[in-house]
Each structure stands twice: as C-alpha cells, then as structure tokens.
Amino acid sequence: MLREASLSAIIGLILMLVAPFVFDDIYTLTVLVIYGLLALSLGFIWGFGGILCFGQAAFFGLGAYAFAIASINFAEPWAAALIALIVPALFAAALGAMLFYGRLSDVYLAVVTLVATLILFKFMNSTAGSAYKIGNARLGGYNGIPGFDTLTLPWDRSEYLIDESLYYFCALILLAAFLGLRWLLTAPFGRILVGIRENELRAELVGYDVRLIKTLAFAIGGMLAGMAGMLFANWAEIVTPNLFSLSQSAEVIIWVIVGGAGSLLGPIVGAFALGALKFFLGQQTLVDNLFVLGSLLVLAVLFLPRGIVPTIALLFKGRRKGIRKKGARRTSRRRVRHAR
C-alpha cells in the first residue's frame, strides 16, 4: 500500500515537472491543473460517495469569492486562502446536512444543488450597486471583483506566485489532494463511504450514521472545489459571477463523466483532456465550444457511461481475468451510477 502510494507520488511529481516541456503554455497549463482539482472534487463525492452534485460550481465560485473578499479585507493572502477553504466547506456541510438529513433522493439532490448555484449566480450578478459590499470589498455585480492581493511566497511577501511558481504550487496541491483522497479511501472513513454508496440501508443497519458520513464527504468535496476556486482566483486575478454559472457546473460533470467517475485519476484526465480541447477550440471560430462540449456529454452518456479511464482499466483487467468477470463487474458498477 505504502509502496504504491509513493510510486504514484513519484509518477505525479515527474508528470508535474515534464508537463511544462510538453505543453509550453504555462498559463493554460495552470488552469488545466486547477480544473483537474475541481473535477477531482466532484469525482470523489460522485464516484465514491454516490452523490451527484449538479452545483459543484457553487463551491468553486464561493472559494474564489471568499479568497478575493478576504484578501481585500485582511491584506493577508494566506489567511484569505484558509478562509477560502472554510467558507465553501461550511456551505457544503450546511447544504449537505439539509439534503441528507432530509433524505432527499438523487433527483432532488440534483435540483437543490442546481438551484443553490443559480441563486448564488443571480445574487452575485445583482450586486453591482455600491451598497453591496463585505468589509472593504465591493461585490461589483457582473463585473466581479478585480484587484485583490494574490498569494506570495510565505517567506518573501514581495514575491508573488505567478506563472511558473503558481503552476508548481497548483500542481503540488493537486498531487497532495489526489494522494490525500487515495489515503482517505483506504482509511475506514473512505471504505465506509464506499459501503454506503453500495448499500445505504446495509450501512445504516450495521450502525453507521449515513446522514453524517455523507454530509462530511460532501463537505470535503465542497472544500476541494473551493480550493480550486481559490487557485482560480489567483490565476485569473479577478472573480466574476460566471464562476457560478450552470455551464461551469455542467463542464465539471462532463469532465468527470468522460474521464470516468469510478476512479480518482479519471476525473483529472477528463479535465485535462477536455480543458485542453476547449483551449484549442477557443483558438478557432468555426465550431462553437459549447457545441462540442455538449455533444461530447451526449455521446459519453450514450456510448461511454463508465468513462475513459475505467474503460481502459477494464480492458487491461479483462484481458487478464477473462470476460465473465468483466461482465459481472460492469453491471454492478453501472447500477451504482444509475442508482435510482
């Protein structure tokens, strides 16, 4: 177990160091890493907790806004970064508690998370007036909040994290989050979470408080998404209500579904691949970006319901273990994804 973990840590570090040479636009590469973290946050709660959140962008946006607002007010970016983790985590915990303690089903979970995102989107868009401010930070409506202090080196306040240093910082966080979640999934909490995904009633009948565990998992997902938002704020140096938009939420789901919700690596791969695709599409005007992304989602649902990474993994496994087992696994995993 430990060997495997250190192996993936080393592979991750190598990838992180090699990536800038393969893909020499470091600015874009950084945002791909941030998207990877955002996708990972949803991949965790969806793939392992069985919770499909249609509003992961809400936590992403909250993290970004919390960072911007706190940074303006306290002029202390590292404290602001901490706040940017706490605010979305608490919001996710509150929303999750409402959903799970109320025993709302999948569809209602989708509706409520979507609506919560929409409320934030509408609210942020309507805060153009000077009356809307938190401390010294004006919310700025659809123009967003520009001009906040971004992260610096902790030991040198004049050295901002920008370009390459920001890239390495983001990549290290992504790697840490990936390894952290891997560890969590082998720890009792993660195993219980997977057990709940498999059979909520069973987990409850052996004495686990399913509501609490799902709420905690949701809060962890919210915190990671908020962390991605915080990094995004540092990258973009402005936060706007579009962070909360429905297409942002949809995009995260597309990354995860294309990459594969059953693994931790899948969502990251999905985010990188589709993020890069979006970037290349952005450079031409012939085909609309959304058109491609939307079509991809339709095709993925129809033809690739397990996602890229698990499908490839399955092909390898299938070759080793024989066909029968593969079929059994496929049906049972599918049941999870489509559960009610």
Binding site: L52, M98, G102, R103, L104, S105, D106, V107, Y108, A110, V111, V112, L114, V115, A116, L118, I119, K122, F123, N125, S126, L246, S247, A250, I253, I254, I257, V287, D288, N289, L290, F291, V292, L293, G294, S295, L296, L297, V298, L299, A300, V301, L302, P305, R337, H338, R340
Partner: protein
C-alpha cells in the same frame, strides 16, 4: 383600486408564464419520468422559429402559434429517436444527456444565428387602467396559458389517445399486451411536450429578446415548477406555478425583480425540503 387591478394582473401574468414554460416539461416528466434539461433550448428554438418565419413574411400569429411549435416538434422527434429513447428508466442519465444537448444547442444557435439578441415587436398594443399602463400582450399570454392547460387536460382526461398514453406510462407491459406500441406512445408524448415548449418560446419571443443562451432564463424556473409540482401534470403544474408565481411577483413588487427570482428559487428549495416524501415517493415506487 387601479393599483390592485394591476397587481392582480401582474400576478396572473407571472403564473401564466410559469404555466406556459413548464407545461411541455411537465408533460414529458409526468408521463415519462424524463427530465429534459434542454427544455429551455426547445423554447429558444420556438422563439427563433417564430422570429425567422415572421421575418420571412409569415403572419405574426401564425409564426407564434404554428411555426414555433412545429419546429420544436420536429426537433423533439429527432431528439427522442436519436437520444432519449435509449435512456428510458435512467433518470439521471437522461438528465445528463439532455444537459449535454442543451449546451450543444446553445453552441449550435450561436453558430447559426450569431451571438446577438433578436426579437419581434408585440402585435398587441397596451391600454390604460386608471393611471397605469397595461400590456395587452400580457392578457394574450394569460389566455394562451389557460388554453394550453385546458387543452392538455381535455386530451389527457377525455380523448382516447390520452387514455392510452396514461395507461402505457403506468404499466408499459400491460399496454403492450393490449396491443399498443409503447415506444410510439413515448415518442408522441415527447413530441407533444416539445411542441408545447416551442409554443411557449414563440409566445414569449415578442416579450423577451431571443439569443442563443436565452433558454437558461427559463429552464431553472420550469424545472423547479415541474419538480415541485410532482408527476401530476395538470394539478401539479398549476399548484406550483400558482405558488411560485405569487411568491416571485410579490417579492418583485416589494423589492426588485432579482429579489423576486431569488425568492422563487428559495421557495422551491424550502418546499422540496418540507415535502420530500409526497413527490419523492412517486419516483421510487415505479423505479428501482
């Protein structure tokens, strides 16, 4: 007194809009347990169809009441045959696929029509009640909404087609055993729901400008109206549209339209929290 009349008018109008934009979705959801997240873009499609055919010289009422639903119906037919029919019984997957469709349609619209807002002028002029101006077209919208909901009610309740449809949805095997082709029934239902969406888009086109992303303004409202209403097509839609229309319009009067919209969304979340079983139970009963 005049003010009261205007307020009542506005509330009726808000409810009518909700009814109009939700009925198509409600028909599809209530009868087939399919949530079409591209519903907003079906409305937009209706809007574009109305505007285009009007600009091509078609009479404005024909554009709104015939061209718009027809275009959406044809498109709905294609969507049902190519996408939705493979996903029946898998609610979350249908939601994901139609969400993808929604994004693809937005992209498609901007490739075809460009990223600009187009519109047509209202064919009915306003009139004055005391010192307040009332839009005549708003009355037209209320009338159309009433006709739509009445028509759907009659079709479902009285006609043979409605009976077959309801039977096929409730017990597909039984209906099949009676010799009805349930796949056809699903298809017609989806097409009918799409046509209703197109009609709504056409009717709304003179009031709001149409642009590729215009559907987003509708989908959330239609979506929560339908979900909160539950699977009873008529009573569910009327009940939740009545409640949400009242809430949003009241808050719009008291504060701003944005507050009104946020109040609407809030009311929906609270409602779902308070009444999860009444509506949820229906989901789980037939599906496992």
């Amino acid at each position: 007194m005049d003010f009261a009349a205007v307020v009542v008018m506005e509330i009726c109008y808000a409810i009518a809009v909700l009814v109009l934009i939700s009925t198509g979705l409600a028909v599809i959801f209530g009868m087939m347990r399919v949530i079409n997240l591209a519903h907003g873009e079906f409305l937009t499609l209706g809007g574009y169809a109305a505007i285009m055919s009007n600009q091509a010289g078609l009479n404005i009422y024909l554009s709104i009441l015939v061209a718009a639903p027809l275009a959406a119906a044809i498109f709905g037919f294609l969507v049902e045959r190519l996408i939705v029919r493979f996903l029946y019984g898998r609610l979350i997957n249908t939601m994901l696929a139609t969400w993808g469709l929604s994004l693809a349609m937005i992209g498609g619209f901007s490739m075809i029509f460009g990223n600009t807002t187009t519109g047509i002028t209202t064919p009915i002029s306003g009139f004055a009640v005391g010192k307040y101006q009332i839009s005549g077209y708003n009355l037209f919208v209320i009338a159309i909404a009433a006709l739509v909901i009445g028509g759907v009610y009659l079709i479902l309740k009285i006609s043979r087609a409605g009976l077959v449809a309801r039977g096929a949805m409730q017990n597909p095997e039984m209906a099949q055993a009676f010799g009805y082709n349930t796949s056809r029934v699903y298809m017609f239902t989806f097409v009918a729901g799409s046509a209703l969406a197109g009609l709504a888009g056409g009717v709304m086109a003179p009031l709001v400008g149409i642009n590729p992303a215009a559907g987003a303004a509708y989908i959330a409202k239609a979506f929560i109206t339908v979900i909160s209403g539950g699977t009873a097509v008529i009573s569910g839609t009327l009940a939740s549209a009545g409640l949400f229309g009242f809430v949003s319009q009241t808050f719009t009067f008291l504060a701003t339209p944005v507050v009104g919209e946020i109040a609407l969304l809030f009311a929906a979340v609270v409602l779902l929290r308070l009444l999860p079983t009444g509506i949820t139970g229906r989901f789980l009963k037939d599906k496992v």
